[in-house]
């Protein structure tokens, strides 16, 4: 019936067959049929149902870009529809699906967070809201990971760039931007590590000040540290070394 419906000009036939296919889970075929009749149904009462099904075929076909767009259109075209809440959520969730791995451009991630947040604000009691909250959390974590990994890379390449400050500043920004991050302790540790390396590799004129700085970084790290951290030992070793180095200055003066 699909091939026949595809070629027949009868639009109600196409709608019927398309819906049957949709219910059977054959979304790509349903999508093709719906695509043919969408223009004809524009402005007609059946269009509301058609547009929802049509939008959802994109979602099921994992074409999240078009799904997000079509659901968004549905929301603005039928603001009084009973399906508007679900469409809104699916539009936001499709945007969520488009979010790439943290190490690439996060424009889709930010867009998805915005859409999900709008949904949550609009329908705080919706059955979809818990899931939306979960998705937002996941995306936030992605942004955190991105900022953390970039700051950490500055630490990794610091010897080559001879720029230990980049990592310190980047972690400062990170701690400021993501106060509740699970990476917090690690961030403080890498800050300490950068400050330590900066001091050790410092020119003599600035060395004492920088060594003193490391002590501050150490105490900041200690404040954030959780029990049984794998970094603690290393941090203590740095402190020991710093204190030893500082002794040279105290005996001199």
């Amino acid at each position: 019936p699909y091939q026949i419906a595809l070629k027949k000009p009868d639009i109600s036939e196409k709608f019927k067959v398309g819906e049957e296919l949709y219910n059977k889970g054959k979304f790509d075929k349903a999508n093709k049929l719906f695509a043919q009749i969408v223009p004809e149904y524009r402005g007609k009462p059946q269009a509301e149902k058609l547009m929802f099904l049509y939008s959802n075929t994109f979602y099921e076909m994992k074409d999240y870009y078009l799904a997000s767009y079509q659901f968004e259109r549905f929301v603005s075209a039928y603001p009084n529809s009973g399906k508007v809440e679900e469409a809104f959520f699916l539009s936001a969730k499709a945007a969520y699906m488009l979010s790439p791995i943290f190490s690439k451009d996060q424009i889709e991630t930010r867009d998805a967070i915005e859409k999900l947040q709008t949904f949550i604000n609009l329908y705080p009691n919706s059955e979809f809201t818990p899931e939306a909250n979960e998705l937002v959390r996941e995306l936030d974590y992605k942004l955190e990971t991105k900022a953390f990994e970039i700051a950490k890379q500055y630490n990794t390449i610091a010897e080559y760039t001879a720029d230990y400050n980049a990592s310190i500043t980047a972690f400062d920004n990170f701690i400021l931007d993501f106060p509740g991050s699970p990476y917090r302790e690690e961030a403080y540790f890498y800050k300490l590590d950068s400050a330590y390396k900066l001091a050790i590799n410092s020119v003599e004129t600035k060395k004492q000040d920088r060594l003193e700085d490391v002590k501050i970084h150490y105490s900041n790290y200690k404040k954030s540290y959780k029990e049984e951290s794998k970094y603690l030992k290393e941090a203590e070793k740095m402190l020991e070394h710093i204190i030893k180095e500082l002794e040279k200055y105290s005996t001199k003066s």
């Binding site: 402005g43 007609k44 009462p45 790439p100 791995i101 190490s103 690439k104 451009d105 424009i107 991105k146 990994e149 970039i150 890379q153 500055y154 990794t156 390449i157 010897e159 080559y160 760039t161 720029d163 400050n165 980049a166 310190i168 500043t169 980047a170 920004n173």
Partner: protein, 845 residues
């Protein structure tokens, strides 16, 4: 019928009627209007006027009106009256070439079915007039008529035909340019300053005379600027007029007021705390008494055309003073001497807070951030921003023309700013799939090269889009097979091994098998084969000393050659093997910019040495004795007085000796190459280059090896042979044709041990867009190769000249064709070689 309710009463809609010439159904129009039967409306009120607006906005209807048909109690019956806008049926365009008609229709979207409105007609007309004026048709006239079509079948639709008459007239040229009031600078110099409006003349070959109004206006400004540069800062155009002489020619009259000559007086600096007056004066380089030149003054303060210029703005901008402003103010102009005060507001030095990159849909962050020269916490420095942009574009992953920067959240009080780099990914993979007939049989090639590969995602199916990408690694795979040979090669490189430093790791594996030609069957003889298997591992490191354009590279390579009943002139032994274990060290410096496909400046040079262990020092083989034995045996082979069997035995002896000599190859090879790029005149880039190579032996008794040699001539494309040979292009001669002569004056065929080459290329870009980069080039070059240093004469060149074309498209790589004329005779011949055509495929630059 026309009930007019003034008081804004509330009614329920009882029914809506639609009247008028329309092909739309009643229901559709009602739904479009947003009105619904059964809903409440206030008349007069918003809902009715909104309905009219909505219908208007659909761009489908004309003469839209809504009437009240009748009112029964509180129930109102409405009537919508409208007509369909006429649809466009056919467009006829007269006055232009047929081939252009299609383009004009799409440019103006005059498609069938478009609604014909007044707006459409007017915009089309204006568009066409300005389009042709811009092309130099000053007298263009456009006339658009619409004709209603009486359609007998579809009476409900109103349809129109459109006739566009274009009269371009003749291209208008400027016959004469007249100046009045031009008392100082000669007319001819002013005419030269007019960049786009040129007087008709046979000498204007590159820039033909055209009259285009907007260009003319711009040129008037250039005239005034010309005066201003020469101290006449009050100069202005009083009036200008265009006089039409005939349909093809106009004359322009420009009336100038020159004003008086001014000169610079005292220049003082105010507000500078970071740099002293002396420092600033040295950058300004303008002294009291000089002729006033406003252009120069603003250039020395801020040169907008050259981002690397030495001007006062850059002095501040490259040292963190992002918010600095520099304003020259004239404080006195007495006696036409202008005293200046350069007022500087320095602001706080600015540090970067956040540095981000957006637009990297493919490339991972770590590949990009490690290339940044602007990092969080750093002092703002304009030249570092520019350098970062240059280096990002050189990665080849992003469109060089579209890399941009945004400065966000500027905070002059704190002295902080955020910097964002915007990149646009481009395709950086190449696929080569070829089949062809050559060398006596079918040759198939499959080549894949991925410039932004991601090895760690090799087993991650989700990342296959269509191959795992984004880690900046290179992977290439090449398979080539024909009847006579098969070659397989694989290579991989990672530019930042370990992620801490730019240490490039590369490795490659290759395997080649060649079969001998069987003269009886005309096919390959699979029992007679020459197999080469190779493996190499290398590390290359960017150096910071003496400057960071230097790269040091090292590699260890091993090749195993195996001959199986493979008797050719090349080797004295047909069955045997040879090993080549070598260490290569190279140093190179590359400062070319900006586009790797079309550099416009900088230089690149490389020097390398490839050496093997000096086996002859410790392997206790008496090569001196072997050499003499070999000479004796050779004498027997060459002497026809010996019997055949004696000569065969002698030849076998030579083969045995050679097998001993080449068991482990012993050699050193030195190569040097340098090229420069310089933009000489607008867009023309000159590229001179020099190269030189030498292959030597530690032990002269052991002698030069038959591998690793230099083959000069032709397109320089690497051939299928993997015997370590270096193919060096020399256009105007056949591939690998420049061979040294042997002691009898005959051309050899196994390459030279010493060569040099000089080349001079002039390039001109046709287009440098990201989709396709095309340039033309002309060249003169010469090169020569020898077999012994004693014969070597670097100036006895085989010379050639010619021209060519290069097309670079990201999907195909580089394609090119060169036509070269060889002025000298090939070795062993007497006639000049003449014309040769070379095709260049995939070879980078």
């Amino acid at each position: 019928q026309d009930t007019n309710a003034q008081n804004g009463k509330k009614y329920t809609v009882g029914g809506i009627d639609v009247i008028g010439e329309t092909s739309f159904s009643k229901q559709t129009i009602v739904t479009y209007s947003g009105l619904r039967v059964g809903e409440e409306v206030i008349i007069p009120g918003d809902k009715i006027s909104n309905a009219i607006k909505k219908l208007w906005n659909s761009n489908l209807f004309n003469n839209i009106e809504i009437y009240i048909n009748r009112i029964e109690d509180n129930v109102v019956f409405l009537e919508i009256r409208l007509d369909d806008l006429p649809e466009l049926n056919e467009v006829k365009i007269n006055g232009v070439k047929k081939s252009k008609v299609e383009k004009l229709i799409t440019e103006n979207t005059l498609n069938k079915g478009v609604k014909v409105t007044e707006n459409l007609i007017t915009t089309t007309k204006n568009y066409l007039i300005s389009k042709y004026k811009k092309e130099g048709f000053y007298n263009t006239k456009v006339n658009i008529n619409t004709i209603e079509v009486q359609d007998t079948i579809q009476t409900s639709k109103s349809v129109m035909n459109m006739v566009v008459n274009i009269d371009k007239g003749k291209k208008v040229k400027v016959k004469e340019i007249h100046f009045s009031g031009n008392t100082v600078i000669p007319d001819s110099k002013l005419k030269k300053a007019m960049k786009n409006t040129k007087q008709k003349s046979i000498t204007h070959v590159l820039k033909r005379s055209k009259f285009i109004e907007t260009d003319f206006k711009a040129d008037l400004k250039s005239i005034v600027d010309k005066y201003k540069e020469n101290g006449y800062r009050d100069a202005r155009v009083l009036s200008d007029s265009v006089v039409v002489i005939d349909s093809k020619n106009v004359s322009v009259y420009i009336n100038l007021e020159v004003g008086e000559l001014y000169s610079f007086g005292k220049i003082s600096f105010i507000g500078n705390t970071v740099y002293s007056d002396d420092v600033l004066r040295r950058i300004l380089r303008i002294y009291p008494g000089e002729t006033y030149n406003g252009t120069l003054l603003s250039k020395r303060i801020a040169d907008n055309e050259n981002p690397d210029a030495s001007d006062i703005t850059n002095l501040y901008q490259n040292n963190g003073y992002l918010f600095s402003t520099i304003n020259p103010v004239e404080i006195s102009a007495e006696g036409n001497i202008i005293d200046l005060e350069i007022r500087i507001s320095e602001g706080k030095p600015v540090y970067f807070t956040n540095v981000t990159v957006v637009g990297n849909d493919v490339t991972n962050d770590h590949v990009i951030y490690r290339e940044l020269h602007t990092r969080p916490g750093q002092l703002y420095n304009k030249s570092n921003v520019i350098r970062t942009i240059r280096e990002l574009s050189q990665l080849g992953f992003f469109d060089a023309a579209q890399i941009a920067t945004n400065f966000n959240n500027p905070n002059p009080n704190e002295g902080t700013i955020d910097l964002e780099y915007v990149v646009v990914e481009t395709g950086s993979s190449q696929i080569e799939l070829q089949g062809g007939y050559g060398g006596g049989g079918f040759i198939g090639t499959l080549g894949l090269s991925f410039n932004n590969f991601s090895l760690r995602n090799l087993f991650n199916i989700k990342e296959y889009k269509p191959v795992p990408r984004g880690d900046g690694q290179q992977l290439s795979l090449r398979l080539q097979a024909s009847q006579f040979y098969q070659t397989y090669s694989f290579s991989f490189s990672e530019p930042w091994l370990g992620g801490e430093k730019p240490v490039q790791f590369s490795t490659s594996v290759s395997h080649t098998k060649q079969f001998l030609y069987d003269a009886q069957t005309g096919k390959a003889d699979r029992d007679k084969a020459f197999t080469i298997t190779g493996l190499s591992v290398g590390l290359a490191k960017r150096l910071n000393e003496p400057d960071n354009f230097f790269t040091l590279s090292q590699a260890i390579s091993y090749q195993h050659y195996n001959l199986k009943d493979y008797n050719t002139g090349l080797f004295t032994f047909g069955d045997g093997y040879s090993n080549n274990l070598a260490y290569t060290i190279g140093i190179s410096r590359n400062s070319t910019y900006n586009d790797p496909v079309y550099p416009v400046g900088g230089s690149s040079f490389s020097a390398s040495a490839k050496v093997t262990l000096p086996y002859s020092l410790f392997n206790n083989v008496d090569y001196y004795a072997l050499k003499h034995d070999r000479e004796d045996l050779q004498a027997i082979v060459d002497d026809p007085n010996y019997s055949n069997s004696q000569r065969v035995t002698a030849a076998e002896g030579i083969a045995e000796i050679d097998q001993e000599r080449f068991k482990w190859l012993e050699f050193y090879k030195i190569q040097f190459k340098a090229e420069w790029f310089a933009e000489i005149v607008k867009k023309f880039v000159l590229k001179p280059s020099v190269e030189f190579g030498f292959l030597g032996a530690y032990n002269q008794n052991r002698g030069d090896i038959p591998f690793e040699r230099f083959f000069l001539g032709g397109d320089g494309l690497g051939s299928y042979s993997l015997d370590g040979r270096e193919t060096i292009s020399l256009r105007g001669y056949p591939n690998q044709s420049i061979q040294p002569l042997d002691e009898n004056g005959y051309a050899t065929s196994d390459g030279g041990t010493i060569y040099n080459k000089f080349s001079l290329e002039l390039r001109y870009p046709i287009t440098l867009k990201a989709q396709a980069k095309i340039y033309v080039l002309g060249f003169v070059e010469g090169g020569i190769s020898y077999n012994a240093f004693n014969d070597y004469n670097p100036y006895d060149l085989k010379r050639s000249a010619g021209a060519g074309l290069r097309v670079f498209m990201p999907a195909f790589g580089l394609l090119g064709i060169d036509l070269g004329y060889g002025f000298d005779a090939l070795p062993g011949q007497t006639q000049p070689n003449g014309w040769e055509t070379h095709f260049i495929i995939g070879q980078q630059f």
